[in-house]
Each structure stands twice: as structure tokens, then as C-alpha cells.
């Protein structure tokens, strides 16, 4: 099975996040970026499918941050056969723009995997937009795959612990919630070897003109609360106190 994986760089929350001057976005001048956690799971699931089917994996990432090349080298070190960096210096992009760029760069694949969402996006729609543009079937919130002859059996997660099994004809695009196993570790020496491997290619891409039509008018940093109250006493007393607090906050009407 020939698999494409879509990777996105997202702001690293370890850094102190600050807002830009007009308070419509993070101040991205000093931000560090990490691989989106859901995309890390998409890569893991792709590598597991590669092992299941003696297939191949190509990782794609948009050139939105300096750290993207390192993410692609890590993907190669973990077992991706090829990596493609799409464009350079693209800056922050919404889901529609990301989907356009990915579709423009994608080769022929039996399956395309993408994280179900990213921490810095508004609408969580990259995987479904890519599937729509390619005309492929799509399943979202996928937590496991199992390959058949010309199809793929996937597990999709619903609410309250409910999961469903789907059979999807290929080619298809999946939004991955979690891989079958935790993302694998790759030794630093393997990443350094990958830097010399020549498996990374770069393609030109202009910042796309399409957009989601959404304009961000204001971004706020959450306010720090005044503190926590530790509730003492047995469960009766604790329950009374919780009801009192909820009532004071206007929840649940008159107690």
C-alpha cells in the first residue's frame, strides 16, 4: 500500500505564547514549532500499514516554519521512504489554504492520512477538504486500521466509548485521532543519518489565494482564575457545598 501522510507544524506550547500587536493571532516572530500531535499519530499509523502491507510512505509538510525540515527528517528516520517539503516561508495558513497546498503537491497514493485536527486551526477540516478536492472517500476520528485486499477496515471513534467499524474502498483520505500504538521512538543518530539520506525533496508553492472565508477579529489569552477551593468533609457535606457553589454560579436553578 502506497501511503501519503500530511504533517503540520503547530506552535510549541512550552514557549510563552504572546499575542501580536493587533491581538488577532499569536506573535509568531518568536514562536517555536512542533509537529502536530495528531499528525504524529497519522505518521505512526502509516508506518504500521507500511509494515502490514510491505508498502511505502511519503510524508508531506508545508513550509510554514523553520522546524519543518527536522520533522520530515524525523519521519524519514522512523521509516518514511520519501519526504516532501511544500513551499517555504509560507507563514500561518488556514485549513482551506493548507488543503489546497497539500493537494497540489500530492502524488498518486492508495491512502492519505492526516491528523484529525491541529491545535492551531479553527475548523479541523484539512483531511475532509483534501478528500473532497480529490474526490476520495473520507472517514474522520479514526483510531485504527486493518488492510484488506482492495479495501481498508477502519475503526472510528464516536462519543461515550462507542466505536464503529467501516470498510473503505481505496484510494481514501482518513483523519487520524490515534494510531494503534503510541508513536515510536527514533534515535537521534537515525535522524542525523536521515539528514544525509537525500530522501527529502522540496517543491515550490505559492501561498494560495483561497481561504476559509473566516476572519479572526480578536484573540485573547485565558484569564487566570482566582484559585481553587479544597472542599473538606464527608460526601454529604461536600455535595452540599458543591450544590451551593453551583447555585451561586447560577447553574441548575434554585436549589
Amino acid at each position: 500500500m502506497d501511503i501519503g501522510v500530511l504533517l503540520r507544524a503547530v506552535p510549541d506550547p512550552v514557549e510563552e505564547l504572546e499575542l501580536n500587536d493587533d491581538e488577532t493571532d499569536l506573535d509568531r516572530d518568536y514562536l517555536g514549532y512542533v509537529l502536530n500531535e495528531f499528525d504524529e499519530h497519522a505518521l505512526e499509523e502509516a508506518l504500521l500499514l507500511k509494515e502490514d502491507t510491505d508498502g511505502s510512505v511519503t510524508a508531506y509538510a508545508l513550509g510554514t516554519a523553520d522546524e519543518v525540515e527536522q520533522m520530515l527528517f524525523t519521519a524519514i528516520a522512523k521509516g518514511a521512504d520519501k519526504a516532501v517539503k511544500v513551499g517555504d516561508g509560507l507563514g500561518a495558513l488556514d485549513a482551506h489554504a493548507q488543503a489546497d497546498l497539500f493537494v497540489g503537491a500530492l502524488g498518486e497514493h492508495d491512502l492519505i492520512l492526516c491528523g484529525v485536527q491541529a491545535s492551531d486551526e479553527i475548523d479541523g477540516q484539512v483531511a475532509m477538504l483534501v478528500s473532497a478536492k480529490l474526490g476520495h472517500p473520507h472517514v474522520s476520528v479514526v483510531v485504527g486500521t486493518s488492510p484488506g485486499a482492495d479495501t481498508l477496515t477502519i475503526t472510528k471513534e464516536y462519543w461515550a466509548g462507542i466505536t464503529a467499524s467501516y470498510e473503505v474502498s481505496l484510494p481514501a483520505v482518513l483523519g487520524i485521532q490515534a494510531a494503534r500504538q503510541a508513536p515510536r521512538y527514533v534515535a537521534v543518530s537515525r535522524i542525523r543519518q536521515a539528514q544525509e539520506s537525500g530522501a527529502l525533496t522540496e517543491t515550490d508553492a505559492d501561498p494560495p489565494s483561497s481561504s476559509s472565508g473566516i476572519t479572526i477579529t480578536a484573540v485573547r489569552i485565558p484569564e487566570t482564575g482566582a484559585g481553587a477551593e479544597m472542599i473538606d468533609g464527608d460526601e454529604e457535606a461536600a455535595a452540599d457545598r458543591i450544590i451551593e457553589l453551583l447555585a451561586a454560579a447560577g447553574v441548575g436553578g434554585a436549589a
Binding site: Y185, A187, S189, R190
Partner: protein, 430 residues
């Protein structure tokens, strides 16, 4: 009485003569049993071969099962472990490369000290771990630390830019060497836990005050300093160590200084034994050695009414032979009384933090009946001391947790020697 025959020996090939007389002497009986064949070696030793074939793994094959190592292995004291047992398990087919046993060794070096065959777990364990790391077979908790260290330059996963944040609001100046713009006498290698961990920061602030009190011309690297890598090397992440060493050497070689003052014995060890072969040769000194030379100049005046015991860090003591400097500093504390734990100096008991153990608490819990740090705290309490003095930044948090988990809160206070010295100088200790 009949004796059983080894089931691996064909009974038809055992010679036992019921009635036999040789030179007039009757030697009838089972005791004349002769084996036509004799099984000397019937193990499948390919798992042992996998270890001894590695660079650094050779000496695993030298073990002759005398078990002196077991008596001193700190992990065996809280479970069943040690080089002799690992050798035996390898003979019996254990796959060390995927077994929890691979990660329990803290590289404390007490086994090597007593081994007549020089079976060197300090080489063997990192060599096998290196292969496990390359294969991705790393315990999840350690994997997380490897990734954080690679990304942020510290195992805590803290923001690299905030490495010097501990100096904020301090009543003495801690200059950054990049801003000093000249040669300094002392470049202080602060290390990770003293930069980021709340109790490590307490010790750093105390040491900054003590150095200032002495009038030492010192500076720190701040955000340019990264994890020294020594523990990553012992944990088998060789590539990560190489990357950190290259970055640190490039940084250090850009500045002029006489002494590289280290807080962390693991960093001290790396600067003495690992960095020189990679182009980084420095006059590395542990802070206890630096301060011991200046005991007179310190002029300690304030009474320290404490009974103090001392824990030897493996990488200061056994690995590098420094036992006296910290003890001389403790002796110099006015009014204090010093008591040794029964395991001290060359036979000091490991805190469990070395060789990656600092980040393998879950794995240790699954395989041991208590933490090494808890065992050590119980020994400290047994001395009657009210204070456990430490000189390694891995230890304050480990031992403070162990004091709580062994219900000794209030019985034993864990303090860095820098905190005790600052108190004896009448300096603030917040």
C-alpha cells in the same frame, strides 16, 4: 540408594559396574559409575553472544559467577538483580535487549569495584541500550525525556530560553558570559535541575550567594547551556549525547575562562572523560572541590545546630574518587555534628537516579519493592541525623520524595551543601 542419571545423558552409555575388583580391591557400587559422555556445556548461548559481540559488551562473557557483585548491587537490595544474575539469565536465553532488566542498572559502578573479572556494566549496559534505542525499544517514560532533551536541551522539557530565569530577583548578580564580554575566572555550568527544579533553584541561589561572598569572578551561560548528555549516554542514546556534546563544546569554545565549575557530578564526569576526546578540554571542578579549597576564605560564622549525614553521589565518589571535599565542607559547618551512614564512600548506596534511572520511576516501581532513594533515606534516618546533605542535583527531589513516601516527613531534612554553607554565612536562603 540409586542416583538419578542426568536426563540429557543416554542411560545406555553410562557405565556402572555392579561387581568389580581391581588389584584385589573391591570397587563395586554406584560410586564407580563412569560416564562415557559427559555434558559440560549444553546451553544455547546466542543471547549471551548478542551481548558479548557488541563494542563494550565483551566483558559480560568473563563472569565466573562468584556473585560478589550481588552483595553490592543497589538494585538487588530492593529486588533481584545484578551482573551475575544477568549473565546467568543470558545463558538461559533471556533477551536482554527487550527485557526490563536492561533499564534497571543505574551505572553506580559498585559491581565493577568488587568484580575480580572486571565485568564492566558501565560499558555493557550502555552498549546494549544503544542497540535497544536504535531499534526504538525504549520505555515510554524515558522516550519522553529523550525527546524533550533533544528538543529543549533539558530533560524537564522546560523552555530553553528560561534557563537563567532562576537568577531573577536574586540579591546578588549572576552575569551571563555572553554579556560580560571578557575572560572570566570561573564559568559556572549550572545544569538542568539547578536551573529549573524549585529545590534545585534554591541550591543555585545559595551557591550564587556563596560565590559572590567569596568575591569569585564568575558567569553562567544561561540559555546557551544545554544538558551535558552524560546520563543520556549511559541510557544508550548515543546520538543524543553526541549532538549535545557538539553543541556544548561549540558554545564553551567560544568563551575564555580558567575553571569550569560544575554543580552536577554527571556533568563533571562528562567534562572529565567524554568531552576531551571530542575537542572539549576544560579545567572542570565540582563545586564541593572549589569551595573546599576556600574553606578559610569563606569564614563560616553562624551556628548550624544539626546532625548531618552525607550521601556520596556515584559520579562524584566511585566514578571520580572524590569523597573528602564534601565531608570537609560539612566538618567546617560551625556547631554541626557529622555521622556516616553504614554504606559510605566507596560502598555508598546509589540514589537510583543514574544511568537514566532518574526518568524510569515507573519501570523501577514495576520491578523493585522500593525505590533506591527510599532505601537510602531509611539508612539516613537510622543514623539519627536530622539532615541529609547532598551535593548532586538529581538527589534533592529524589530524597525529598522518599522522605515523604517513607513517612519520615519532619524526621529528616534534605539540603544541598550550598544551602548549609549559605546559612553558616548568614546569607539569605530563599
Amino acid at each position: 540408594m540409586t542416583r538419578g542419571v542426568n536426563p540429557k545423558v543416554d542411560p545406555g552409555r553410562v557405565l556402572e559396574i555392579e561387581h568389580v575388583e581391581i588389584d584385589g580391591m573391591d570397587i563395586s557400587g554406584h560410586w564407580n559409575r563412569m560416564y562415557e559422555q559427559r555434558v559440560i556445556f549444553d546451553y544455547d548461548i546466542h543471547q549471551l553472544d548478542r551481548v558479548t559481540e557488541l563494542d563494550g559488551g565483551e566483558s559480560m562473557g568473563w563472569c565466573y559467577q562468584c556473585a560478589q557483585c550481588i552483595a553490592v548491587c543497589p538494585v538487588d537490595h530492593v529486588g533481584s538483580y545484578g551482573p551475575r544474575k544477568i549473565f546467568r539469565n543470558l545463558q538461559l536465553g533471556q533477551d536482554l535487549f527487550t527485557d526490563d532488566d536492561l533499564w534497571l542498572c543505574t551505572t553506580c559502578a559498585n559491581c565493577l569495584r568488587v568484580c575480580p573479572k572486571e565485568v564492566d556494566m558501565l560499558q555493557i549496559m550502555p552498549a546494549v541500550r544503544k542497540e535497544a534505542v536504535l531499534a526504538g525499544a525504549v520505555p515510554a517514560e524515558l522516550q519522553d525525556v529523550f525527546e524533550k532533551t533533544a528538543r529543549y536541551g533539558n530533560p524537564l522539557g522546560k523552555n530553553a530560553k528560561r534557563r537563567a530565569a532562576w537568577t531573577k530577583g536574586l540579591d546578588v548578580e549572576v552575569p551571563l558570559i555572553s554579556e560580560v564580554g571578557r575572560k572570566v575566572d570561573v564559568l559556572w555550568w549550572v545544569s538542568d535541575y539547578p536551573s529549573y527544579h524549585p529545590r534545585g533553584i534554591d541550591a543555585s541561589r545559595a551557591l550564587a550567594r556563596v560565590l559572590t561572598h567569596l568575591g569569585v569572578d564568575f558567569a553562567i551561560l544561561g540559555a546557551d547551556e544545554r544538558h551535558d548528555g552524560d546520563s543520556m549516554l549511559r541510557a544508550g542514546e548515543t546520538g543524543l549525547f553526541e549532538m549535545l556534546a557538539e553543541q556544548n563544546i561549540e558554545t564553551l569554545n567560544g568563551y575564555e575562562f580558567d575553571v569550569l565549575l560544575t554543580t552536577d557530578p554527571h556533568a563533571y564526569n562528562a567534562f572529565l572523560h567524554e568531552y576531551p576526546q571530542r575537542g572539549g578540554t576544560y579545567n572542570a571542578v565540582h563545586y564541593t572541590q572549589f569551595l573546599e579549597e576556600r574553606i578559610e576564605a569563606l569564614g563560616l560564622t553562624e551556628q548550624i545546630d544539626r546532625t548531618i549525614t552525607f550521601h556520596d553521589p556515584c559520579y562524584l565518589g566511585r566514578h571520580n574518587g572524590e569523597y573528602d571535599a564534601p565531608r570537609n565542607l560539612i566538618d567546617a559547618l560551625p556547631g554541626s555534628e557529622f555521622v556516616e551512614m553504614w554504606r559510605n564512600k566507596e560502598n555508598g548506596y546509589c540514589c537510583g537516579g543514574g544511568g537514566g534511572g532518574m526518568w524510569l520511576d515507573g519501570l523501577a516501581a514495576d520491578n523493585q519493592n522500593m525505590r533506591l532513594s527510599e532505601k537510602r533515606v531509611l539508612e539516613a534516618v537510622e543514623t539519627g541525623a536530622d539532615t541529609l546533605c547532598v551535593v548532586c542535583p538529581y538527589e534533592v527531589s529524589r530524597f525529598e520524595d522518599a522522605v515523604k513516601s517513607t513517612n519520615n516527613d519532619g524526621n529528616l531534612e534534605v539540603l544541598d551543601i550550598a544551602e548549609l554553607l549559605a546559612t553558616a554565612l548568614g546569607l539569605p536562603t530563599d
